[in-house]
């Protein structure tokens, strides 16, 4: 059954100074799910997010945010945690959160009450009257998250919400995000943390050089790849995994490796090859991980740092050389 979409883009295109940051992108985010928006740095994720939130105008294509083609009209029902974010350093934490709620359309009284509740939730109740710059980075990050959800948005866009958090706060944030989904919100999670995508996202879209190169429910995406990967744990000399028959790519971590098989490769033959070369501690035939799929799709070449041709889009200033 098709679920209604919280967000839908068709042929979305945006250029900055002649460089295409987003190029005919399609995106379908089903309601009440956690959706993974993946892509290497400079792939056009941030630009896409800014367009669907109504911050940038698009050059071409269709965008429907919460059912209508005018994100600004529904902006009080949207929540956004940008990748790069700051807070007013001198403002009191409680006032700050209430202010950020009030610009999302909450009444001042409502914003104040909710800010208090959220600070209690985050264990920061006693810091409500502190200046924001007295908080640790992790605390500030939690306040920023609270600011993105204080008005209970229907569509919540989180851009790298986990950067810089310790394991305890990472766990807490994960719970809070799941809680948002359970409340009925749609969450778009843009992250490089593949383990988070693996465990949290129902569907994903992988963006590369401004295009959607892979999209759909995570289970279907993986199934399409088949059991085409081997998770290997081994002991052996360096380079022992080179030039294996039926393997098109090896991601070697030293004592563990992920082997991507060629189409129709014989896994049993591979195992025999391996036993001759190294001590196999574990050999699991599996679906590829999101990380494998990601690296495969963006054309990762081992040992070679690749970058998209020109970093397009929002992460770069549009000015190259001033003619003036």
């Amino acid at each position: 059954m098709e679920r209604p979409l919280a967000l839908r883009c068709r042929g979305l295109t945006k250029s900055f100074n002649g460089t295409k940051a987003v190029d005919a992108l399609d995106l379908s985010v089903p309601e009440r799910t956690i959706f993974g928006l993946l892509g290497p740095n400079g792939s056009g994720k941030t630009t896409t997010i800014r367009i669907v939130l109504g911050i940038f105008a698009r050059d071409a294509g269709e965008v429907t945010t919460l059912g209508i083609d005018d994100a600004l009209a529904v902006r009080d029902r949207l929540g956004y945690l940008p990748e790069e974010r700051g807070l007013y350093p001198k403002m009191k934490v409680g006032e700050q959160l209430a202010f950020l709620g009030s610009i999302r359309g909450l009444s001042r009284r409502d914003a104040k009450q909710r800010a208090e509740r959220w600070l209690g939730r985050l264990g920061l109740a006693e810091r409500a009257r502190s200046e924001t710059n007295e908080l640790s980075k992790g605390m500030q990050q939690k306040v920023q998250f609270a600011a993105a959800v204080i008005h209970e948005p229907e569509l919540l866009v989180l851009d790298e919400p986990f950067t810089g958090l310790d394991p305890i706060n990472t766990r807490l944030l994960k719970e809070l995000i799941l809680e948002q989904r359970d409340r009925g919100a749609t969450v778009v999670l843009s992250t490089h943390r593949m383990d988070q995508v693996e465990t949290m996202c129902e569907s994903i879209c992988l963006i590369h050089e401004g295009r959607d190169v892979l999209a759909g429910p995570l289970s279907e995406v993986k199934a399409a790849y088949g059991k085409s990967s081997v998770q290997l744990e081994y002991d052996g000399p360096p380079g022992a995994l080179a030039a294996l028959e039926g393997v098109r790519e090896v991601r070697d971590s030293g004592r563990a490796a992920s082997l991507l098989l060629e189409k129709g490769a014989d896994s049993q033959r591979l195992l025999r090859q391996l036993i001759e070369r190294v001590t196999v501690r574990s050999f699991v035939l599996a679906e590829p991980s999101v990380e494998d799929i990601f690296l495969d799709k963006v054309g990762y070449v081992p040992g070679l740092a690749t970058h998209p041709p020109v970093a397009p889009g929002a992460d770069v200033l549009l000015a190259e050389e001033s003619p003036a």
């Binding site: 800014r50 940008p82 790069e84 700051g86 950020l100 003619p323």
Partner: protein, 423 residues
């Protein structure tokens, strides 16, 4: 654009600024400095003047005794006249040599020589260890003048003479709507004060605002806010919040000045110097109405330019360079205001008052000092209004196109393209 969003932004800006230590300190410090300059220094000077021990040498004028009694009656400076020497003109040099020696030996502080003169009755010279104190010198000079007049005129004539000296010519401005006393001095003073107000507000608060925008941009705070508010709402909220801060501070200062003029100054002797100054006349409804129009439009126009410049910069250092070309017109307008105050009807004054980036200061000066034709005033207001609207529109475009981007500052050509790219 939504008014509630702009209001929220402006309110935050206002409260953050008004509660800041910097605001409280400058609000109190400036009047304190003024008070020190205007009240405490003169009072200290007066209290600080030690006795001035004098000898008066009267070489045939006959007014030595009168001058002595006048000086001793003086309140501002405690004069002590040790003696009044009557000497013949021939003996004057010898007497002077002795007295100069007395000054060196610190027996007296100075002596006053009054020499007979056929035309002015007395030529006076004041010899002293210290001749730099203007109050002492002026007081002695006044006493000599009074002594001469008293010996020339009898009681009745003297009284009439004094009255003539005190009376001043009045100036009355004749305009279409009637006649108005006060005239040049009042118009000049009020133009200067109100023009200064606009100039200071724009430069002080406009620059503070641009700096705040740069800080919020480089700390990536803008990214968190844009989305909930549009860049235009953010910019206008900022401009209005800072304007409210400025008006609050100016309001506090004006209140303090009013209290000082009405309450404190008359109690001190300084009040007499301002007795002629008609405060109500200086701040009539017409002046204030025009001032409000020019102030509001001028501030909005300049402040949005500053905001747009702030949006293009990544650091405060970069901002300082970039601001210079935008500040120049404000400074030039302020300077040309002085020229206009003295030549309000010249062709140059007219031309300057129609250049919209000068109009707020230059046309205001013309309106206040002279009576330009009404159509000229309103034409300049319409031109200013259109320019301000166009400036705000263009600044909004540049603001939107640059506030979320970092790196090299866009050049003029790029700025032009941003404005042209309607989105």
């Amino acid at each position: 654009m939504r008014a509630d969003k702009i209001f929220s932004m402006a309110r935050r800006e206002y409260l953050a600024r008004v509660r800041s230590k910097a605001f409280i300190v400058t609000t109190l410090l400036l009047p304190a400095m003024f008070a020190i300059y205007a009240v405490v220094f003169p009072a200290m000077t007066r209290a600080d003047v030690d006795e001035v021990r004098l000898t008066i040498v009267d070489a045939g004028t006959g007014i030595g005794a009168t001058v002595a009694s006048r000086l001793e009656a003086e309140e501002a400076v405690p004069f002590v006249v040790e003696q009044v020497l009557q000497v013949a003109t021939a003996d004057l040099e010898e007497a002077r040599a002795d007295l100069s020696q007395s000054i060196r030996e610190r027996q007296i502080d100075g002596y006053l020589v009054l020499q007979a003169d056929p035309e002015t009755l007395a030529r006076s010279q004041y010899y002293a260890r210290e001749t730099g104190n203007i109050i002492i010198v002026e007081t002695i000079g006044g006493a000599v003048e009074a002594g001469i007049l008293e010996s020339w005129f009898d009681g009745d004539a003297l009284e009439r003479l004094r009255r003539v000296q005190r009376s001043r010519m009045q100036t009355i401005t004749v305009s279409a709507s009637g006649e108005e006393a006060g005239g040049f001095l009042v118009a000049y003073a009020s133009t200067f004060v109100l023009g200064m107000l606009l100039y200071m507000t724009v430069l002080m608060y406009g620059q503070q605002m641009a700096m705040a925008i740069v800080e919020e941009k480089s700390s990536r705070l803008v990214e968190l806010v844009i989305g909930a508010v549009t860049s235009t709402e953010y910019m206008i909220g900022k401009v209005l919040g800072v304007l409210a801060t400025g008006l609050t501070q100016l309001g506090i200062w004006l209140l303090m000045v009013a209290v000082m003029i009405l309450g404190i100054l008359p109690a001190l002797a300084i009040g007499t110097a301002m007795a002629d100054f008609d405060l109500a006349g200086a701040l009539d409804v017409r002046t204030l109405a025009y001032f409000s129009i020019f102030f509001f439009l001028g501030y909005l126009m300049y402040a949005t330019v500053f905001a747009a410049i702030g949006a293009t910069c990544d650091s405060v250092q970069e901002l300082q360079q970039a601001m210079l070309p935008a500040i120049m017109p404000v400074i030039l307008a302020f300077m040309s205001m002085f020229y206009i105050m003295t030549n309000p009807s010249s062709f140059a004054a007219k031309a300057l008052s129609f250049f919209p980036y000068f109009t707020p200061l230059t046309m205001f000066a013309r309106v206040n000092v002279s009576q330009p034709p009404l159509w000229e005033v309103w034409l300049s207001i319409v031109v200013l209004l259109a320019t301000a609207a166009a400036t705000i529109w263009a600044a909004g475009k540049i603001f939107h196109a640059t506030i979320l981007f970092h790196g090299k500052r866009p050049g003029l050509g790029e700025l032009f393209r941003m404005v042209r790219a309607a989105s």
